[in-house]
């Protein structure tokens, strides 16, 4: 037998607790996303501590750092991309979904 991946979705229907369709699923997405955000912020915290141990006080320097116009615009574009990605997952922004598919070279 070749090794199969552990399934990530259980068998059977999920229970619906909220009256409107999809609310439970969206809440589930939000919680999973929050777990990733939590993991990322912990990673950043640890990175700062590691750098601090190397003599680099990154946390202080980050607070003092002034973004250039080009950097502001790059970050803004990244924010936009993130919003489009999140909304595309929920099917709430067809425009966003198309542009992501274009970026990835079309639907596979």
């Amino acid at each position: 037998m070749s090794t199969r991946r552990i399934p990530r979705k259980r068998r059977g229907q999920r229970h619906q607790f909220f009256d409107a369709d999809g609310v439970d699923e969206v809440l589930s997405c939000v919680l999973r996303l929050t777990s990733e955000v939590s993991a990322l912020s912990e990673r950043l915290y640890l990175t700062e501590r590691v750098l601090e141990a190397q003599g680099l006080n990154v946390a202080n320097e980050v607070e003092r750092y002034a973004l250039s116009e080009a950097e502001e615009s790059a970050l803004s574009a990244e924010r936009q991309r993130l919003i489009e990605t999140v909304l595309a997952q929920l099917g709430a922004s067809a425009q966003g979904a198309e542009s992501i598919e274009d970026d990835a070279g079309g639907p596979s």
């Binding site: 037998m1 979705k9 068998r11 229970h15 607790f17 809440l27 589930s28 912990e42």
Partner: protein, 393 residues
């Protein structure tokens, strides 16, 4: 890199794994304490009194359930708790997937102390195969490779997240509490053969070997992946246990073979018919003078009304369909129907042995039983396990 446990079947955890696990454990703790507290307050402060004013007080767990269903605190609690439960398995499966081949090879090493006897011809009950119990994808029996231990590894890792430390450092507190209760309460009783039924990964089997080091300990389960894992885990901890693939409702053992038959969190996952068959089998394999002693959910007739509604949430929403029917039973009657005498029934509510230590535990075994919000639940404020069983004369 960190390891998940202090035994050889542990998996390596990345920082990302550890952060996600910590998040889900915190989320579960939040749901079971804060959101559960909000739900109770909403019932006691609003929904309960409103029904009383209308002259229709809520007098059964089912009535409370129906009355709370449309209420936001119930919807929020239930929806978040369901997601948190799904996330438990989600966050532990990555590490197990990454290392599964190594784990399976490690589990195949020859035994040094105990043994593993599998029976590939054993039919698996529908109550096991028909449902992903606890919302765990693939449950305890599915095999994904030759000599597979993945279900056992997922279970061991999931307890870390699911129980957020409340089952003890090696997930062994239930076994430690029940075995030490027997040792301290009945010092003249010294068992030499002990059986654990529905043992999964043997986490509550091993403390019996520690409490009674001269006893032979046997543990059975229907699911091969958890038994392979249990065996390898016990071997790496140096605890001799004979693990056998067997159905507790039809055991292969001779009559009168064991001094103790133990189970933990087992019967509430079985249909009533299987519970009855299991208890008859337990009576049969017990020696005269032996004892059936098991940790379970406290019975409905002993618990306050709201606790019964709250505990039964799992039977509706956590893929544990037999749980409600089990809790409705008169436990003493279940045992007398299986052959035990009514006078030989024993039950106790016990503080957690590995949390409070020998001296405080020894003192506690003389106090009266307490059935309240801490009984049978996982609560950092001080869980109390419920045990019941009977002597066989």
């Amino acid at each position: 890199m960190n390891r998940s446990h202090d035994h050889d079947m542990a998996v390596s955890l990345t920082q990302h794994d550890r952060s996600r696990r910590a998040f889900v454990a915190t989320l579960r703790s939040h749901v079971l304490q804060r959101m559960a507290g909000d739900l109770r307050q909403h019932f006691e402060g609003t929904v309960g009194p409103e029904h009383e004013k209308l002259g229709a007080p809520l007098e059964s767990p089912e009535a409370i359930h129906e009355a709370l269903k449309p209420e936001l605190p119930f919807k929020a609690y239930s929806s978040v708790r369901t997601s948190a439960q799904e996330m438990v398995f989600d966050v532990v499966s990555d590490a197990v997937d990454r290392e599964l081949e190594t784990l399976n090879e490690r589990a195949a090493q020859p035994a040094k102390k105990g043994s593993l006897t599998l029976n590939p011809a054993l039919p698996l009950p529908k109550s096991v195969t028909g449902i992903d119990v606890h919302l765990s994808p693939g449950a305890y029996h599915e095999e994904r490779a030759d000599n597979d231990v993945s279900a056992g590894a997922v279970y061991d890792n999931s307890i870390d997240v699911f129980a957020f430390g409340q089952f003890g450092k090696r997930h062994n507190d239930i076994g430690a509490t029940l075995s030490n209760y027997l040792r301290l309460k009945f010092p003249e009783f010294v068992p030499t053969s002990i059986l654990d039924c529905g043992c999964t990964i043997g986490h509550n089997t091993l403390p019996w070997a520690e409490t009674y080091p001269d006893a032979e300990v046997t543990a059975i389960d229907v699911a091969a992946p958890v038994l392979r894992y249990a065996h390898a885990r016990a071997e790496s901890m140096g605890v001799p246990v004979d693990f056998r693939q067997m159905n507790a409702t039809a055991m292969d053992f001779e009559d009168e073979q064991f001094d103790v038959v133990f189970s933990s969190m087992f019967m509430h996952e079985l249909p009533l018919k299987h519970i009855q068959q299991y208890l008859k089998e337990a009576f049969r394999v017990l020696k005269p003078g032996g004892v059936l002693w098991q940790m379970e959910l406290p019975p409905m007739n002993a618990m306050p009304l709201y606790e019964n509604f709250y505990m039964n949430w799992d039977t509706y929403y956590n893929n544990e369909p037999y749980y409600g029917t089990f809790r409705k039973q008169d436990y003493r009657r279940l045992l007398t129907d299986a052959g035990f005498a009514a006078d030989d029934f024993i039950e106790a509510t016990m503080p957690r042995y590995t949390f409070i230590g020998e001296a405080a535990f020894a003192e506690s075994i003389h106090s009266d039983n307490t059935f309240d919000t801490l009984t049978g639940r996982m609560d950092p404020k001080g869980t109390r396990w419920y045990g019941f069983g009977a002597w066989k004369r």
